[in-house]
């Protein structure tokens, strides 16, 4: 799930030709540069900006739709999207359904669509605030560029007794390098396109953090998976969900063999948030 390394996949020219033929030449071919975004939240923030309103006032519903449209377009041209883009799509599709269903009497089974939407808006606002803070920070007068220390220092200070200098970073990188050097093994396993248990677990916890009532998550998720990844995603998600059930962090229900698997967060869960 190394999202930072998503590359836009080049589409072979002949494919474009074929596609163009099938669709009629009028529709322009799209090249999607997902690599320009730092993950799904970044993309959402960018989309939200097009609404040109305070992030606390954005229409989460239309934001969800914009995002899903984006993912659709990407998939139409067979761009390989990182898993977290798809997880976000699944989550937004779920959110959208919750927002569109008439308000139910609120049980104690998790957040309402409004609450989920508010959480999303909050996260966007927080991310944006950090972006602004970063800009303000980097534009300050900086040592060595705008402000200067003594150019000809005469002694190096701050040594209590020991005249040796080393930072924790030096120490840790020395250790890591050494251990790694000593651990050289010839294991070079070709990376298969497999959802690891860890990834699947992470994905499930991410999603379940915001979902309370019975949900056939797999369905939402699989819809957004490239066919090649469906099997591995299902297998890993299933295994991970069993693990979560065992730990009491998840409940599952199935009507019968081959019926959809429903999951939810345990109702009386000890308020143990997965991450925070």
């Amino acid at each position: 799930m190394a999202t930072d390394t998503i590359q836009s996949t080049a589409i072979p020219m002949d494919r474009l030709w074929q596609d163009a033929d099938q669709r009629g030449v009028t529709e322009p071919a799209l090249v999607i540069d997902v690599g320009g975004f730092e993950g799904p939240l970044d993309l959402l923030l960018h989309l939200a900006r097009t609404q040109k309103v305070d992030l606390a006032r954005i229409s989460v519903l239309s934001l969800a739709e914009q995002y899903l449209l984006f993912i659709e377009s990407a998939r139409r041209v067979r761009i390989e999207l990182a898993a977290d883009y798809l997880v976000m799509a699944a989550w937004l599709a779920y959110l959208k359904s919750k927002l569109l269903i008439p308000q139910q009497v609120r049980g104690d089974d998790g957040p309402t669509g409004e609450e989920m939407a508010a959480t999303l808006a909050f996260r966007l606002k927080r991310l944006e605030a950090m972006r602004e803070a970063a800009t303000r920070l980097i534009n300050r007068n900086r040592l060595g560029r705008d402000v200067f220390a003594r150019g000809a220092p005469e002694h190096i200070a701050e040594r209590h007794g020991a005249n040796f200098d080393a930072s924790l970073y030096d120490l840790l990188s020395a250790y890591a390098n050494l251990r790694q050097r000593q651990a050289v093994t010839q294991v070079t396993i070709e990376r298969r396109k497999v959802w690891s248990l860890v990834e699947a677990r992470q994905m499930l916890t991410d999603m379940l953090g915001d979902i309370g009532d019975w949900t056939a998550l797999q369905h939402y998720l699989l819809q957004y998976m490239p066919p090649a990844e469906r099997v591995t995603a299902t297998a890993s998600a299933f295994a991970a969900s069993l693990e979560l059930v065992r730990e009491g962090k998840l409940e599952m229900r199935q009507e019968g063999a081959f019926e959809p698997l429903y999951m939810r967060r345990p109702v009386a869960s000890p308020a143990a948030e997965p991450k925070e």
């Binding site: 190394a2 322009p28 977290d84 927002l99 606002k125 007068n141 200070a157 924790l168």
Partner: protein, 236 residues
């Protein structure tokens, strides 16, 4: 006594210092001037004559240098002489500027600075994306970010924070001086929890209709988002 003439920049603070205080002042000045790194109070105390009031001496020095081309600044419990920030335009050097930080690294740095002590999972929660390798170690190598300790929660995750040289580099006395930190805290944006008054108004929409405040997403938007239609690639 009437007019303090304007070149009297290094003039008095409150009461006249004693001879031994003046000597201590000279020594402190010399030590601070000689060093490129900020010096801690403990370090200065070790070297100044016994019994002098360090706080008073530092205060006097700060005031005396306040209007000059070189200022004495405080970074937490350390002191250093630095050229005055307003003279940046004359002595600014663009060569040798510190390695340019990537956008991701800058964002991570800001999150660590504003949210510290913060765990890696929390950084990722805020950014919504995993932090790629090389981002943190760039910040650590620059000497701005460090491992602080471990959170007392299950799993004991390691927490990250900034270093004194981060403050020095960005001209901050302490973390509280981070631009906008109070406003952000007041707005609840430095917490993991959504503030209670943060609500999104829900239009009671029955379908795909857009509200008045919304525009439908257009082909143009999609292009703008990086969905680039390569001019004529299809027709070639």
């Amino acid at each position: 006594m009437t007019s303090i003439d304007d070149q009297d920049l290094f003039s008095e603070v409150d009461e006249a210092p004693s001879a031994s205080e003046l000597e201590a002042e000279r020594i402190a000045e010399a030590l601070l001037f000689a060093s490129a790194e900020p010096l801690s109070i403990a370090y200065l105390m070790e070297r100044l004559p016994r019994g002098v009031d360090i706080a008073r001496i530092m205060k006097r020095l700060i005031i005396q240098y306040a209007g000059r081309g070189v200022n004495l600044i405080r970074i937490e419990d350390r002191f250093a002489f630095r050229t005055a920030a307003d003279l940046s335009f004359v002595i600014r050097r663009d060569e040798g500027e510190a390695k340019k930080l990537s956008r991701a690294a800058l964002e991570v740095l800001a999150i660590i600075a504003y949210h510290q002590p913060v765990t890696r999972a929390e950084i990722e929660e805020i950014r919504g994306v995993q932090t790629s390798r090389g981002t943190l170690d760039v910040l650590m190598e620059a000497g701005w970010v460090r491992f602080r300790g471990r959170r007392r929660t299950p799993g004991r995750p390691v927490t990250l924070g900034t270093t004194p040289s981060f403050l020095d580099h960005f001209g901050l006395e302490e973390i509280r001086d981070l631009p906008g930190v109070e406003e952000l805290r007041a707005a609840g944006l430095l917490s993991g929890r959504i503030p209670p008054d943060f609500r999104v108004p829900m239009p009671g929409l029955a379908g795909d209709e857009l509200t008045e405040e919304e525009d439908p997403i257009t082909q143009l938007d999609i292009e703008e988002l990086g969905l680039l239609a390569p001019g004529g690639a299809g027709e070639e």
